[in-house]
Structures are given as structure tokens and as C-alpha cells.
């Protein structure tokens, strides 16, 4: 009883909370823009590109080999494994190429959930999820990626996302 009265009269709890807040307030005040070792977590994102983890799962991208040939051989494994059926491949033949060649490789990004099952199922390392995360578009066509076209190219990073260019791989 006496103890609880004492606790009510002397505000130890308020003192503790204020001390903690003051500690962090002072820390930021001392270190902000002073060239000391930076402890805050703010990143100047649009001006400075963000660093992503190497395993980051971004947009689907088709890969070409050293000769500039598409590595995809139309085994349709990615099409089958995709939980949301966003990949459509049309099989075809090309002069001077033994393996099948994709005439069409369509990727409808509006339904993609970026689970990376397609990359995992691919036995030929012909697709990756690149490091692009700025996937906003101005119209619906921006989300329908195919092998040709300016803004919906399966090989390149779309021009909209120039901040998140993949750094290492």
C-alpha cells in the first residue's frame, strides 16, 4: 500500500520513459549530418539507388547466352509450375537451332506473385527474377511483357524502373 502510494507520488515510470526518449533524441541530434558514424536507418531512396539482397525476387526476365541466343528451350516447366498461370509459351522452330525456340514468351505481370517457382523449375537457367522492384506502369499494356515491344521487353529492364538497376548479377 505504502509502496504503491510512493510509486504514484514519485513518477519513476515517466522518468524512465523520458530518459529513453532523451537518449535517442540526443543520439540523433549529435550524429545527424555531422560526418560521424551514421546510425540512422534512413536511405535517400529515389536519389540513391537502394541495395538489395542478392536473392531478391523481382520481375521475370529471359536470359540470352553468349551468342545472343535465347536460352529457353520450351520445356514448359515454368508454365506448368506457375501457381497463377501468368506464363504462356508458344513453341516453334528456328533455322540452325537444334532445340525448340520460343516464338512467344508472354508474361502477365499483373497476376504474378513473385514466388520464384518458375526459376526453380527451370533446368536450363534461362529465366531469372531480376532485381527490379519499381513495377508501376501507366497503362495495362505495361504489365503484359513479351519478347518484343519497347516498354514490355522480357530481356531488358523497363525504362520506368531506372532506380533499381540490378547491381551485381
Amino acid at each position: 500500500m505504502a509502496l504503491s502510494l510512493l510509486r504514484t507520488l514519485i513518477p519513476f515510470d515517466i522518468y524512465g520513459g523520458m530518459k529513453l526518449t532523451g537518449k535517442y533524441f540526443g543520439k540523433v541530434l549529435r550524429q545527424a549530418n555531422r560526418g560521424v558514424k551514421r546510425t540512422h536507418v534512413v536511405v535517400e531512396y529515389p536519389e540513391v539507388p537502394t541495395t538489395l539482397m542478392p536473392r531478391f525476387r523481382g520481375r521475370l526476365q529471359l536470359i540470352k547466352d553468349e551468342q545472343g541466343e535465347i536460352k529457353c528451350v520450351c520445356c514448359l516447366a515454368c508454365e506448368k509450375i506457375c501457381p497463377t498461370q501468368v506464363i504462356t509459351i508458344e513453341k516453334g522452330k528456328k533455322e540452325g537451332r537444334k532445340t525448340p525456340f520460343p516464338l512467344r514468351y508472354d508474361f502477365e505481370m499483373e497476376r504474378c506473385i513473385f514466388c520464384e517457382f518458375c526459376v526453380e523449375s527451370c533446368g536450363f537457367d534461362s529465366i531469372i527474377l531480376n532485381h527490379q522492384f519499381e513495377l508501376a506502369g501507366y497503362n495495362r499494356e505495361d504489365f503484359s511483357h513479351a519478347m518484343e515491344g519497347e516498354f514490355q521487353n522480357m530481356f531488358d529492364i523497363t525504362p520506368v524502373g531506372h532506380y533499381s538497376v540490378a547491381s551485381e548479377d
Binding site: 520513459g17 526518449t21 538489395l52 539482397m53 531478391f56 509450375i81 517457382f117 526453380e120
Partner: protein, 366 residues
């Protein structure tokens, strides 16, 4: 002279202090709650039905989206349930990494709960500190599997890849400072007089009622019952871990707060043990190319941050997808205790009760 009548009001579904799209129909007598009916279904997507039309491999991505705050735990429940259905043995290293990530996920879930629950009751500061640590764990998830929230972390039979280089250092850096962070939350809240006024004796639920309603998780343990599936039916690597089950006898909101803080400390202990005793070896079991089930039905339950998360599978002969799949979602069943907690109490206590139950509406509605 004066006419009094009961008033019926809706709390939600877009009210800022309900979590997600929860609508609570309240019958009020003045400021006292007479009757309280949670109206659910605003986020229903039919996850169970969708999963019946997907293969066992594909179905995992929907478990990310039921309890999106604790998606790694959901992935674990799915993966272990399917492994139990097919009788697959997972390598020991995979078990350890799974346990470590699930415990880190328990910390993120409890941190999000702590931040938002304190914010509802009126403590703004702890939200900022809780999210600072949550951010670090989400970076750990990003390093491991490439996504922060919808992780799809595990595969049937083990893991997709081993831990990346530098991962152990990243986790150890977090582990080194996390205990101090819990102490900071305690400084801000545990002895805080406003916090104690708003939580002690509020939203009481005793052990008998909790068991009768099927409530599990921290809500049950805060009522004095030391039921934890990690101890009762050990799964993954929990049988080899040394940890305590946090309990409190009181059964009020304050007790649930103390239980969850203690669970974070225990999760910290388990992660340390996983890192120290991480065995060498493969992370993926040998699997047939296509998983085809027999006529079989299993129920597998794990201790998710919110309570008992169970996956119930029925397999048909030669089926590549489950014939029937059911999720025993802890949030859904814990929410049934809401009316028991708040009836006869004040309107302001409803906010505290919704917060303390830690419901995620993606899981309630599925």
C-alpha cells in the same frame, strides 16, 4: 420522463483502431457493451478451395497470404503437413534452419502486435522502436529467401537453398542487441501508469472459458494454462531445443502483454541455440518428381505466433492436389472469445480486447 434504449453501432470495418477489415456489431447501453458480435468475411478469398485445385507444391504460396504477418510459420505448417501426408523425412539441417526462421518470425509477429496494440491504447513511442527491430528481421528474411512479407520460405522436403553467405553474421548482429531492445519496450510500458490502467483487469478470460472456446496461443497461456504445441507435440527441431513456456496466471490484457514479451525472449534463446548447433549436411530430401498421394488424411498442428495453426489434408489415390484442405486458423478461433471478453465492459475496452487477441483478418476470413 427519460426514455432509454439500447444503441447498436458498428465498430469497423474501416475503423482505424480495428486491425484490418473487422466489423464488430456492438449493442451499447450508454457506454457499456451489452452484446458484441464480430462480423467477418470481408477478406474471404476461398484459400482452402483454391488450394484444392493446386498441387501440393503450388499451394504453399496461398499460405503466405492467410496470416501475412507470420507467413514463415504458415509455410512451415503447410510444408510439415504435406511431408507428414507423404511420409517424407527432412534433413536435420533443414529442420534447424526452419526452426530458426520460424522463431524470428514469431518475434516479428509479436513486435507488430506490440507496436499496434500499444498504439491503439495510446502509447505512440513503442511503435517506432518495435518497427525498427522488425525491419532488421525482414532484411534477414530477404537475405534468406528474397522476399520480406510473402516469403514462400520452405519447400516440401526441406529448403530450396542453404543459408546465404553472411547470413549467420547478420542474424548474430541482430541477436546481440535484441535483448536490450526488449528491455527498452519494458521501460516504456511495463511500469507505465497509463498502460497499467488501460490493461490490468481489462478483457478478462479465465482458463476454463479459454479452453471451452478453443482459444490457444499466448491468450491461453496468459490465463495460466501452459499448453504449447512446441512442448506438447514437438515438431521441426523443437524437441532438441531448451526453452520455457511463458505463462501468467492473471488472464487479462496485461498478462498477455507479459507473456508475449517473454515469448520473444524465449524465441531469442531458440534462435541462438539453432545458430550454435547448426548441423552440417544437405537441406533437401530426395523426392519423387511428381508427388502423388494415397487415400490418407492427416492433421498437423504447429505453434504459430497466434496459437495452434493446424493443416488438415485429405489425399485421394494418385492425386497431385489435396482432395480437401482445411486450415485451423488461430486468429479465427481466438476471435470467438471477443464477446466473452467485452460483454458488460466499457466501449474503450473493446479496442484493447481486439488488440490483445492479435487477430489478422487475412487469417480469420481466409
Amino acid at each position: 420522463m427519460f426514455k432509454t434504449e439500447e444503441m447498436e453501432i458498428n465498430l469497423g470495418p474501416q475503423h482505424p483502431s480495428t486491425h484490418g477489415v473487422l466489423r464488430v456489431k456492438l449493442h451499447l447501453d450508454g457506454e457499456t457493451v451489452v452484446r458484441c458480435v464480430p462480423m467477418i468475411g470481408y477478406l474471404h478469398r476461398g484459400v482452402e478451395k483454391i488450394c484444392e485445385n493446386k498441387t501440393f507444391f503450388q499451394g504453399q504460396v496461398w499460405t503466405d497470404r492467410t496470416d501475412y504477418v507470420a507467413s514463415v510459420s504458415n509455410n512451415l505448417g503447410w510444408a510439415e503437413g504435406v511431408e507428414k501426408l507423404f511420409g517424407i523425412t527432412v534433413p536435420r539441417r533443414a529442420h534447424y534452419i526452419r526452426t530458426m526462421l520460424t522463431e524470428l518470425n514469431r518475434i516479428t509477429s509479436h513486435l507488430l502486435w506490440l507496436g499496434t496494440h500499444a498504439l491503439d491504447i495510446g502509447a505512440m513511442t513503442v511503435f517506432l522502436y518495435a518497427f525498427r527491430e522488425r525491419e532488421e528481421i525482414l532484411s534477414i528474411f530477404e537475405a534468406f529467401c528474397g522476399a520480406r512479407l510473402t516469403t514462400t520460405a520452405f519447400r516440401i522436403g526441406g529448403l530450396r537453398e542453404d543459408i546465404p553467405p553472411g547470413f549467420e553474421k547478420q542474424v548474430r548482429a541482430f541477436q546481440a542487441r535484441f535483448l536490450d531492445c526488449i528491455d527498452e519496450y519494458e521501460i516504456l510500458l511495463t511500469e507505465n501508469r497509463i498502460w497499467k490502467k488501460r490493461t490490468i483487469g481489462v478483457a478478462m478470460l479465465n482458463a476454463e472459458d479459454a479452453i471451452a472456446l478453443g482459444v490457444t496461443g499466448p491468450v491461453l497461456r496468459a490465463a495460466g494454462s501452459a499448453y504449447d504445441i512446441r512442448k506438447a507435440f514437438p515438431y521441426a527441431a523443437y524437441g532438441e531445443m531448451d526453452f520455457d513456456v511463458a505463462t501468467q496466471p492473471a488472464g487479462d490484457t496485461y498478462a498477455r502483454y507479459l507473456v508475449r514479451l517473454e515469448e520473444m525472449r524465449q524465441a531469442h534463446r531458440i534462435v541462438n541455440q539453432c545458430l550454435d548447433g547448426l548441423p552440417e549436411g544437405p537441406v533437401m530430401a530426395k523426392l519423387p518428381k511428381v508427388l502423388k498421394s494415397e487415400v490418407n488424411e492427416i492433421y498437423h498442428a504447429i505453434e504459430a505466433p497466434k496459437g495452434e495453426l493446424g493443416y488438415y489434408f485429405i489425399g485421394e489415390k494418385g492425386g497431385v492436389n489435396p482432395y480437401r484442405m482445411h486450415i485451423r486458423a488461430p486468429s479465427f478461433i481466438n476471435l470467438q472469445a471477443l464477446s466473452k471478453m467485452v460483454e458488460g465492459r466499457l466501449l474503450a475496452d473493446v479496442i484493447a480486447a481486439i488488440g490483445t487477441l492479435d487477430v489478422v483478418l487475412g487469417e480469420v476470413d481466409r
